[in-house]
Amino acid sequence: MNASVVSLTLRHAADKATALAALLEDAGAEPAFRLAEAIASAIAAETDAGVARSLRDRLEAFATPVAWTALARLAMQASDKPAALRAVRGALNAAPAPDAELLLLEARLLAANGSMVEALASAREALRQFPAHDVYLRHAGLVDRIMASGAWTPRRRLRVAIVGGGTTRLLAEAVRMNGFRDGIGIEFYEGPFGSWRQEIGNPGSGLYAFRPDVVVVVLSHRDLDLPADGAKAQAEQMVEEIVALWRVLRERSSAHIIHLAFDMPPDGSWGGLEDARPAGRRQAIRYANNLLRENRLPGLSLIDPARLGGEVREVWDAQSWYQAKHYPAPDAVPAFSELIVAACRSITGLTSKVLVVDLDNTLWGGVVGEVGVRGLVLGAPSAEGEAYVDLQRHLKELTQRGILLAVCSKNESADAQRPFAEHDGMVLKRDDLAAFVANWNDKAANIETIAGDLDLGVDAMAFLDDNPLERSWVRTRLPQVKVIENDGTPSGMLRALRRGLYFDAVDLTEEDFQRGRSYQARAAIRAVSDTSRTAEDFLAGLGMVCRHGPVEAATIKRVAQLVNRTNQFNLTCRRYSETQIAEMAVDPAWWCRWFRLQDRYGDHGLIGAVLMRKGAEAWSIDIFLMSCRVLGRDMERFMARCALGAARDAGISRVYGEYLPDTRNGLVSGLLPRLGFKPAEDPRFCFDVAADALPEAGFIRDADGAVRNRALELPVSG
């Protein structure tokens, strides 16, 4: 329904009110922003006051999102912002799903009112709906204003430099806006047009002066500029140039590099021959990308825009390239920016860690409590059944790389568990789940319980449910949870998961592979701890052994992951990039140690790290952190004993520590005094290693015997 038709209809209808009613009826419950605008304009242009009044009345009677939005537009034209805000809220309440246009209009009106905190919430929710590019363009100024207002405290800050062969500004702005959405305060530097070589090559360039944390390099197939055939040599040459510049960049900066692989151009003049011939153009582009992949440096992520094939038709578009050398094409900018922001989330430790899923009509078709296990739609030969299997397979694969899966279902617990044991079509097993909650309580409360059980924040959780009412409830009660909007079908849910890149990671560590087992072990331990006679018996029975060592090549990645992801058991919450940690690891002025814990249930992997600055007279703890998975075992005492012992062995008499309050580390506010540190100048504490006894670590045996423990000598049993 386009605006011209609306205009004609309302201008020439004999009975305009009825014509309007027909238009509104047609539009139904969908928001239809432009239609609402057209209706509002038509009514505003109405010269007969009586007719205008009756049309407004008709809008108010209808109370659909389109009607409310039209009323909002009319109110704005009359500069009546309070009325506009009421109408926008009416539209939002009536809409079947959150609507980005309406949310941003609400944000704009709230901001005009001075209600910045509420405006912030609406703007972020809007950006979670994957709006089209023009929505980003039109509201960049508003989001900037909200970011600068002081109502917003980012969880992380990143200085991001973007260089490329074309126009990068639109991409940079979308990255910044989506960063805001995800709690990352991005300040960006944009290299002068087309000057990526100079920006990286010239040590005095603006890029280096900017001191970026991340450098994004965006080159398109046009920068390769290959002939249709005989293209291999040229491709190789370009790759050599790029890799050399990567090395230069790495020498001069510890920034993480995000390099976009070359896109595939539209079909060329040699068509299929560009694929078939060994030096054909398309073959050469693939070859270039493979060479880039093989020559990656540590701290560099190569992202392939081909991943967007499902979402955007063309990442490069001829018309927009000719217009202003846009790359990516404007329509592709939001999806393209999501790839970059997902990498930024991974680098800063903000990737979601848990996916909470519903059961009925989410993991399978049907309500198990009503139709029983045999009545469920799951598996062949039903098409929908196969789609649910695909969804389960996707979720299972997520768990295999360390994403935790939790069930939150409104069901009798027995009913909910039955399909896992009895239905052949189930890909997911009970063991794949880190938590399982089935009851009749409200899901927001249940999600908070799950978060507590897993010792993770709700802000690390995403929620997948086919039921829009449940989604809306959780969205309202727990705004930090990423509620995955979807159309209620299994393929729709897969598409939503793919779009959101909620769990996208630039790298994996051994701990990622072990995480699932580690959480199973926790559950087993919880069961055991109920039956142990005393806490000491329980700890003794675990047979804990700690391996530890200096941070070096094999452990840098995992230590960086911990430094960026650990929010609770973290004394200072300082964040460092992988490259910075690599530098500290070889710097004689730093003491950097990793700690790894095993017990009779298995290997928890590398779960703690301590980084100390070595001064001439005293050492100072810069980072002291531990995974919450191993709370309650005195592991922190072991780590402290090791660190303080090292200082003492080096002839140092004092070690300083500090507690820097962050949003979620209240857990360790009293840690330093508990370990035997005494207050020094706030926020510092001091441990006198010469005079005071080092903390004891109860039941943890040192694998290397370097840390002498007056604990029981326990065998490491199976």
Binding site: A3, S7, S41, A45, M76, L137, R138, R169
Partner: protein, 82 residues
């Protein structure tokens, strides 16, 4: 689509892109009146107008769009007067 409707929509777009709900936007409003109207703003206005009206603006037309009236006339040409 009437000129008034086009103008109303353009007003909305300008107020959004320049981030000012109280911005007075008339057909005469142009590059000289708004100091934030630089080349990147030009790109944004063009893309926003393309999306709002479902039209495509040609590369050589972009530099001729220096006022609200210029945009309105382009929209009218593309979609036919109303």
């Amino acid at each position: 689509m009437t000129d008034l409707q086009t103008l109303t929509t353009l007003r909305g777009l300008f107020q959004e892109v320049f981030d000012n709900l109280d911005l007075v936007v008339t057909p005469e409003t142009g590059k000289d009146d708004l100091e934030e109207w630089d080349s990147i703003t030009q790109v944004k206005l063009v893309l926003a107008v393309e999306a709002a009206f479902g039209i495509r603006i040609k590369p050589d037309e972009v530099e001729t769009l220096n006022s609200v009236r210029d945009f309105a006339e382009l929209v009218r040409r593309r979609r036919g007067g109303g």
